[in-house]
């Protein structure tokens, strides 16, 4: 295995995913296989090569930050799993 069970569990936590006990080995194996694949990138000599951020990095357009749509809070809240008084409701965060 290229990566350990511990790394898999730590990564899952960062990604806010819970891996069931009986699937930890499967995930470790699958993710190790993928990491082996992407490890082949180390064969490439990239000394002095600049990092590409976006194929369009020089042509990204900007515009004024203006309101172009709005007054649709009710429509947006329609998709909310839980809402109250025009707000999204989440479990209590501050005691």
């Amino acid at each position: 295995m290229t990566i350990s069970k511990g790394t898999v569990l730590k990564t899952a936590k960062l990604a806010r995913l819970k891996i069931p006990e009986d699937k930890i080995d499967l995930y470790t194996k699958e993710i190790s296989n993928i990491v082996d694949l992407i490890d082949t990138l180390n064969e490439v000599d990239t000394k002095g090569v600049e990092t590409l951020v976006n194929v369009d990095e020089f042509s990204i357009t900007t515009q004024k930050d203006e309101i172009t749509a709005g007054n649709c809070a009710d429509k947006i809240l329609k998709n909310a799993p839980k809402e109250k008084l025009g707000y999204f409701v989440v479990p209590k965060v501050i005691e």
């Binding site: 990604a15 694949l37 649709c72």
Partner: protein, 492 residues
């Protein structure tokens, strides 16, 4: 006269104008096909009642002489384009109850031209896959079968449902998205045309995001000509997407009128390896000769970093996906898993674990891993530098040639039960010939070329330089004429 659902879009538009039949009759013939082929599981949500209303409106427009460019043409839409008041799921349980309050720019453009939507098509969850079996709504089935076999084959993916609807004459064209080959590969597996314009040609506004530096809308059609009609309708600048380009739009019609004399077409030598099926290899060589006979000059070119494309893609795409999919938290829309007493973090975790399928989880994990502290430079930055090298490879090649001719896939459609093909890594390698054009943001098309010995379609790919969609269509139109592929899946 041919059944109405078997006509080309161009023929249909003329016939509608000449009042040979109505938009409602045209729609009816497609509805029959949709109803007869539900076993292919091509649609996640059918919108046939809505389509009937729209077809009536189209007939009125023809009557009043107000018909728009694609008035009355029945089209299906990959369920990753947000459609106002029509459920949009991305084939994920996490979005299974999501109804967008807004319309994507691409569907806005298409509907503005008079297109009639039949429904939202099946895909691999969040467009991550090459088989369409990673769907929370069950796998979609390819209408093609091996000669003499009843075994169900994968349609390719991720835009499998869209490809099926076009191949099986349920729609005249379809919308897909292509991040690493998700239009071109299913088009090849289903024996139809699939086109992905340059990155930046089409607005990504309202497309459920997977990997934002790679995601691009594309079209499916049964001919290069029909693909041009649909592409012209969706390309163009949109201020709602900062990466959308203001570059002047190409004239695809006039490009398709031109022969190949004076054109230089490159054959990248690196596409010969990678486990390419000998039948596909032979077809590719044959097509090269066809283009030469048409007057094109064939030039050998090299794209040295091709073999690292898949590895770089499986760093960059999951990295972007892990960031894009962080928004699914059970707070504002979509699924929420919550039990009394859970903390906010526990709710996030329960929601995401319940809502995402296995492949999506796997990619989020990879993305999180390559972006995590200590690994970012070794993986993510290295992949971005390799991507830069791939872009440079193409730049150097396009200094010498106008277009490239390559295979689309290393093999033809395979069975869902094929354990060797269905291995996760083997599936990733399926995109080896489509990923490079995506990494460089290039326009590329899959053109159906021939049936293999087992009776399954093989496609060929034409790639051109950035914003040179005209060159793709010029080569594709001539190649299509030479190949003369006019076969439909048996029984459809």
């Amino acid at each position: 006269m041919k059944a109405l659902n078997k006509l080309t879009i161009r023929e249909t538009l003329q016939a509608l104008k000449d009042k040979k039949f109505s938009s409602c009759e045209l729609l009816e013939s497609h509805i029959k096909a949709v109803e007869a082929n539900r076993d292919l599981n091509a649609f996640i949500t059918e919108t046939l009642d809505l389509a009937k209303e729209k077809a009536k409106e189209s007939d009125l427009k023809y009557l009043n002489g107000e018909a728009r460019a694609l008035e009355g043409i029945p089209v299906s839409v990959k369920d990753v384009f947000c459609t106002k008041d029509v459920r949009t799921t991305a084939a994920s349980k996490i979005l299974s109850n999501f109804t967008p309050p807004y319309e994507s720019t691409i569907t806005t453009n298409l509907f503005g031209k008079g297109v009639v939507m039949l429904g939202k098509t099946n895909l691999d969850e969040f467009a991550m896959g090459v088989t369409n079996h990673y769907s929370a709504f069950g796998p979609a089935i390819n209408p093609w079968k091996e000669t003499g076999s009843k075994e169900n084959l994968v349609p390719g993916g991720s835009s499998g449902g869209s490809a099926i609807t076009v191949a099986a004459h349920m729609s005249m064209g379809a919308l897909g998205t292509d991040t690493g080959g998700s239009v071109r590969q299913p088009a090849s597996f289903c024996g139809i045309v699939g086109f992905k314009p340059s990155y930046g040609r089409c607005s990504r506004y309202g497309i459920v995001a997977f990997a934002s530096s790679l995601d691009q809308a594309g079209v499916f059609a049964r001919s290069v000509d029909d693909a041009a009609l649909l592409s012209t309708a969706i390309m163009g600048y949109d201020n709602k997407d900062a990466t959308c380009s203001k570059e002047e739009l190409p004239n695809l019609e006039s490009a398709m009128d031109q022969g190949l004399k004076g054109m230089k077409i490159g054959i990248p030598k690196e596409y010969h390896g990678a486990g390419l099926d000998p039948e596909i290899e032979a077809l590719w060589a044959n097509a090269k000769e066809m283009l030469r006979k048409e007057g094109a000059e064939i030039v050998d070119v090299t794209l040295p970093h091709t073999k690292y494309g898949v590895a770089a893609y499986y760093v960059i795409a999951p990295a972007e996906a892990s960031s894009n999919l962080a928004r699914y938290d059970g707070v504002r829309y979509g699924l929420r898993e919550y039990k009394e007493g859970m903390s906010l973090d526990e709710m996030y975790e329960a929601t995401r674990t319940e809502g995402f399928g296995h492949e999506v989880e796997r990619r989020i994990m990879i993305g999180t891993y390559v972006l995590s502290s200590g690994f970012y430079d070794a993986y993510f930055s290295q992949a971005q530098r390799v991507r830069k090298l791939m872009v440079t490879d193409f730049k150097l090649a396009f200094d010498k040639v106008d277009a490239l001719l390559t295979p689309v896939t290393i093999n033809t459609a395979f069975a869902l039960t094929d354990k060797k093909q269905m291995d996760p890594i083997a599936l990733y390698l399926n995109d080896v010939f489509t990923i490079p054009a995506s990494m460089a943001g290039l326009p590329a098309m899959s053109i159906p070329a021939k049936l293999n010995g087992k009776g399954l379609p093989i496609g060929l790919q034409v790639i051109a330089n950035r914003f040179r969609e005209d060159n793709v269509f010029r080569v594709a139109k001539n190649l299509e004429r030479c190949l003369n592929f006019k076969v439909s899946p048996k029984g459809y």
